[in-house]
Symmetry: C2
Subunit: 464 residues, 2 copies
Amino acid sequence: MDEIIDIEIVDIKLIEKALELLEEKKFSELRSLLEEQNPADINDVIDELSDEKSVLIYRLLPKELAAEVFVEMDSDKQEYLINIFSDSQLKDVLDELYYDDTADIIEEMPATVVKRILKVASPDVRKAVNELLKYPEDSAGSIMTTEFVRLRKSYTVEESLEFIRSVGVNKETIYTCYVTDDKNHLIGIVTAKDLLLSERNEIIADIMEDNVISVNTLADTESIALMFGKYDFLALPVVDNEDRLVGIITVDDAIDVMQEETEEDFSKISAITPNDTEYLKTSVFKLWASRIPWLMILMISATFTGMIISKFESALAVLPILTAFIPMLMGTGGNAGSQASVTVIRGISLGQVEFRDFFRVLWKECRVSLLCGIVLGVAAVGKVMLVDNFLMKNPEVTIFVALVVGITLFATIVSAKIIGCALPLLAKKIGLDPAVMASPLITTLIDTVSLLVYFYFATVILNI
Amino acid sequence: MDEIIDIEIVDIKLIEKALELLEEKKFSELRSLLEEQNPADINDVIDELSDEKSVLIYRLLPKELAAEVFVEMDSDKQEYLINIFSDSQLKDVLDELYYDDTADIIEEMPATVVKRILKVASPDVRKAVNELLKYPEDSAGSIMTTEFVRLRKSYTVEESLEFIRSVGVNKETIYTCYVTDDKNHLIGIVTAKDLLLSERNEIIADIMEDNVISVNTLADTESIALMFGKYDFLALPVVDNEDRLVGIITVDDAIDVMQEETEEDFSKISAITPNDTEYLKTSVFKLWASRIPWLMILMISATFTGMIISKFESALAVLPILTAFIPMLMGTGGNAGSQASVTVIRGISLGQVEFRDFFRVLWKECRVSLLCGIVLGVAAVGKVMLVDNFLMKNPEVTIFVALVVGITLFATIVSAKIIGCALPLLAKKIGLDPAVMASPLITTLIDTVSLLVYFYFATVILNI
């Protein structure tokens, strides 16, 4: 069978060529090269450059393309550019941007820059952007655009096409058009496909889809991103509390949310404070700051496990080999716990598991953990007898020691899976982020339980 | 500020209402209810039902909607339905499906069902599907569709619109049209927006975008999904080795890939064999099977750490308090390692980090780990002196013990971060999946290093 080709999504050759032309000051050749490129690729070039050189590249681009590249840029570079723009240059860029992109840029800028942007912007832009900035972060309102095509149900297809032709160029999408009544209520949608495939004299009311899925301006963006995955939408209408159409969310913005939420979850389950810059572009200090808090919390919470061990110091002194199994017990417990917690955390993130499923989840994990616990417990007894007793001939290791290890492993796995599945759901219930539960708290709890069980059985079975 | 509304992407009320109507055998009411729904929502209802009752619902739906719902269904239900379909019923469904959906369904079916599908399918379908099935899993060819609109550069806008009207209804998207030459080479794209906003007599050659980004049939789907995120495409053309256009990938399929790849990564970094069914729908046995192998590997690999501890049993017997710090050292090491490894694994998955960045990554992690190690090492010395020495007045704990713990913690964190960032990159280099490196191997290595360092400094500084 043919081999899959691993493609790179950053065009290294383009970057090298562009840097070379820049170095040699061959600006007109550089301009012709860049004019042909996608804005995202041009931004990859800019990403490699200092602020000063970025400006050089930026100034080579035709106005419209320059604005498209501007949207792609890091907020630091955007800020730098805005600061060196004259008022009229800034206005030119703002006029080219979609309102939602302008709002996104403003959210990242310091107050003085925001003030200047809003001062320079045309009244239309200012009004639309101010409107968008009112919505809380992570709400539908904060990622929607107000530039969409609005039709009347009395229009014919011909009239609609004419209307789209007159306004379409400034709309973020023309592929889904929204039909509203006099009070601006959303009463239907018509796709460009419907319009193109229908007869010119048909009436919108007859071809529109009137069962429309929409979301409130305050709906959370994570669920909205999932809706795009579920329904294969290209755009989703956003309505206010009175069901009036106020904006739309396009699939590209939904993909961005999906990617951000995923990376946030990855960070949290590995005990890192989320951070939205690319790894290689994040400063050492920033990486340190996002990692040290959880390491610190974990180190301090390990005081408990240390205290438990100190308490049973005398038991360990009698039978030092018991110490040798502690890493295995705690390691397996940690892994068993994170298998359950990550599964449940993802289920919650994907909207597949809710708090109301608490007992279903618990019952499932009980059974899975019994199976895992029995198999691993038996395997551990076998391994201890085979390796430590038979092969390494350690006189301290008896069948009773093996039994203590096996039983403890069993109990550790069962409790690890139960703690691992329950904590994220409880966190969700009380309004905390389930993903934050993944590491520190669960690990500490499982370690504590596993040590207590270990020493209990050691004292009971081995009489120490 | 207003509160974000947590929306549910499964419509519980619809499901309850549908089940109620089904229970009461109010079929015509049920049909009217379902006819208004999105296929994905109807499938949520079917998901709650037995195979027999699913058939009841399925038979109520109008032909076209039924086919759309069929695509959404679990492969088990699809297989059940296909088995009870007559040949002509099966053909009706197949005629309604897009070729790529048929190919996807076939991939999940046992050989006998596949044979029957291909026998019943019309020659066109059979040919197209056989073509698609040739491509290896995870290749562009395996997720593309061959139903797209092909234009000639000599067409006028008017002719193109007429052409779309004649063929569009069977195409998966008409929003991006592809311009090809006599030899079927892709020479440009025209969007429906371009067509709608241009004058009717303009020539395609003049309005088409001729700098087109395309991928080879064998390009890997994970990178393709990232391209959709980067370039905001609605569709991406796929070409063969001779640069002939053979298909397109639409954004909804790219989103599916993105979601699958993400879940695979989450599974792997939590030491679970990936599995594409929803958690609550996965059987206990399947969950067990996806979790036990890694737990077993981890348990067995912990033999090493056990052996190290046995070897230093006498040192621990002299100063039993040393045992109390082992969980903290290993726990912090594990966390520090997974912070680095998950960060790098995600960087690789997102195409932001490549093997050629090896030394950049290593240098970054060295500095981050020095910072983390110094802070935590000092904090550990302080904590041990404050809690164990001063508060708990443990006579065994001296400043030298605290120093051993602090130095070991420092060394553990530095080595954990270096191992954590290096292994995924090395795995990538030799063609293994970086995500698989996250748990077992890294944990075992870090635990081993940390114990060796601990006992080394314990013997040197404490003279035991």
